[in-house]
């Protein structure tokens, strides 16, 4: 997944989001070992300090664990991961609902569009 | 660090000068060769070869001089200065390393000239006639001077070195002074050179007004009064000259050092 960093938001928040996606979408599966800060920074073409902050944030959120001697790895706590998945899902939906409201759709219309599309995409 | 600077100085200057020195020796050998083959040695090929030799000889002295100036100017005061002056080395070491190598090449050019002359005149007749005569003359002189002969040799060596150091440092100081101006740095350097030379001459003239030196003049006028006086006179003059050059050299060195460490302004 390319690191697509936008210029007008703090980089570290974007890094947190990006790594979250990678964890939740399985690119970094539970228990997997993370590359070093420097390697990650190089991959993303960002300042190692910034990457460090992003990782610290993710650790605070419980998605990453730092081992004293062997670097960082993704948590194996599936409950943590599920919580994060749901949080992101809610964020996406709330963004979607905002836009729909602006376009003037009501609850019923929104629901029917969603159900319809889920059928289509499912095929 | 000074040793390392000397190494790089030598490499940088040797690239240009060694080929010329080699060419001189080769030209001398070739001239000799040609003259041997054509018998009397007074014909066109020898003449051409000898002419070339003279050209190379002049070129060698000119290049030794030019390389000294160019090396100082380009390595310290042009883009290369960005490299040199960010090395963790005191400014005076930069100046001294270039000075020492400049003197080295000055001496080398004389040695090579001497060697090339030997190559050209290496002839059974010449060797048997000329060199023994010179050797005899020198031994006689040494006998006449007695223990003084060592001192005289020392004075001549020191005097030559003092003269070379003085000549090199006055040029470095001129270049450094020229660097102070913002435009027309070459003109400013030439102006500085004239100024510094004029200063040296005026200083010398003033010093000769000192009573001691006056007495010296008197002695000079009545030369040949006795051998002792002549020799004493020689010593006096030599040490005065050495001292004079040394004093001015220190002054020019200090000027150069001050400008390069405190008033550097690389473009």
């Amino acid at each position: 997944m390319p690191w697509d960093l936008k210029p007008d938001r703090p980089i570290y928040t974007q890094l947190v989001e990006h790594i979250e996606w990678m964890i939740l979408s399985g690119v970094y599966p539970p228990g997997a070992k993370l590359p070093s800060v420097r390697d990650l920074a190089r991959e993303a073409s960002v300042n190692p300090n910034t990457m460090q902050r992003a990782l610290a944030q993710l650790e605070e959120d419980g998605l990453i664990i730092t081992h004293r001697t062997s670097g960082r790895s993704i948590t194996e706590d599936s409950e943590m991961i599920q919580k994060a998945r749901i949080r992101i899902a809610r964020e996406q939906v709330s963004e979607f609902l905002e836009k729909m409201k602006k376009l003037g759709f009501d609850k019923k219309e929104i629901l029917s569009i969603i159900t319809g599309m889920i059928e289509e995409v499912g095929k | 660090m000074l040793g390392k600077l000397l190494k790089y100085e030598l490499k940088a200057t040797g690239r240009t000068l060694l080929p010329i020195y080699a060419a001189l020796l080769i030209s001398a050998a070739v001239t000799k060769f040609i003259s041997l083959f054509s018998g009397s040695g007074d014909n066109i090929p020898t003449f051409i070869s000898a002419f070339l030799y003279i050209l190379i000889l002049v070129g060698m002295f000119v290049m030794t001089f030019v390389v000294m100036i160019q090396r100082f100017n380009r390595n310290l005061l042009s883009d290369e200065g960005y490299l040199m002056f960010t090395l963790p080395v005191e400014t005076w070491k930069h100046i001294v390393s270039k000075l020492l190598i400049a003197i080295f090449w000055n001496v080398a050019s004389f040695v090579v000239t001497f060697a090339s002359i030997i190559v050209m005149t290496y002839d059974e007749i010449f060797v048997e006639g000329l060199w023994p005569q010179i050797a005899r003359g020198l031994t006689e002189l040494a006998l006449v001077l007695g223990p003084d002969s060592c001192l005289v040799i020392l004075e001549i060596i020191l005097g030559s070195i003092a003269c070379m150091v003085f000549g090199t440092l006055i040029i470095y100081a001129s270049i450094a002074l020229g660097h102070l101006s913002n435009r027309h740095r070459t003109m400013a350097s030439l102006g500085a050179f004239l100024g510094l030379t004029a200063f040296a001459q005026i200083l010398f003239a003033c010093l000769t007004l000192i009573p001691n030196v006056r007495v010296l003049q008197h002695y000079m006028d009545t030369l040949q009064e006795s051998l002792q006086t002549s020799i004493a006179l020689f010593h006096y003059v030599m040490w005065f000259t050495i001292g004079f050059f040394a004093f001015l050299s220190v002054g020019y060195f200090l000027i150069t050092n001050h400008i390069l460490s405190k008033r550097l302004n690389l473009e």
């Binding site: 980089i11 | 940088a12 883009d79 963790p88």
Partner: protein
């Protein structure tokens, strides 16, 4: 002593022209800092002062608490905007020179980077293109384990691929004890890599802020720069 660079009332005049006016700055270790401003704003003057290539007219500048001199030159690695290499040397020779004079120079690193960029160490500098010579200079500067790297327009004359490589090298070289100061007017390219941005105009510091603080206001550093320096 955490600050690697400190300026107090730093002023530099050339005749009647003030290149730097009463500059006050503190830069900490372990940061990548952008010194950003238009041409002629005083960036290069500040960098030259840090390298002892110029002496202040008034005020002071200190590197790791010391006045610029031999001891600071040992810990500062400088990449000037111009080409300062002796043309007659081969790459081998210039590496030898750096090794001779800088204790913190790592030849293996240099050779490694040369190989990555397909530059032959046996080549004469005279035969190289301007872009290649710039890469060689950068490699030499980054192969030193210095405490302060001063890079004056490192990505100016280089192609985009080389630009990426240069930024990658800066990131890889990062260590918490060292600081990199990048002076440039190409801000968008360099923004992601900066911790801190300093805007300088007409010899004065007009802004000194962390990049995060700028972005939290919803602007990129490049965007803010254009606003501040609007013609």
């Amino acid at each position: 002593m955490n600050a690697i660079l400190e300026c107090k009332g730093l002023t530099k005049s050339f005749g009647s022209k003030k290149a730097l006016s009463d500059v006050n700055l503190t830069i900490e270790r372990g940061q990548i800092v952008g010194l950003l401003g238009p041409n002629g704003s005083g960036k290069t003057t500040l960098i030259k002062l840090a390298n002892a290539l110029l002496t202040p007219t008034s005020g002071e500048i200190r590197i790791a608490g010391m006045k610029p001199g031999i001891d600071t030159k040992k810990i500062v690695s400088y990449l000037p905007e111009r080409n300062y290499l002796n043309d007659w040397m081969r790459v081998h020779d210039i590496i030898g020179l750096f090794r001779d004079f800088y204790v913190d120079f790592k030849p293996e690193k240099a050779y490694d980077m040369l190989k990555r960029l397909n530059i032959n160490a046996g080549d004469k500098l005279k035969t190289m293109s301007k872009g290649t010579k710039e890469k060689v200079q950068l490699i030499l500067v980054m192969s030193r384990e210095a405490e302060l790297y001063l890079l004056d327009e490192p990505i100016g004359g280089v192609d985009p691929a080389a630009r990426d490589y240069i930024l990658e090298t800066i990131i890889s070289n990062y260590n918490p004890n060292a600081t990199v100061i990048i002076s440039t007017h190409l801000i968008a390219d360099v923004e992601k890599v900066l911790d801190h941005a300093i805007f300088i105009r007409d010899g004065q510091v007009v802004l000194s802020s962390s990049v995060d603080a700028i972005r939290e206001q919803g602007k990129s550093v490049d965007g803010l720069f254009r606003e501040v320096f609007r013609c």
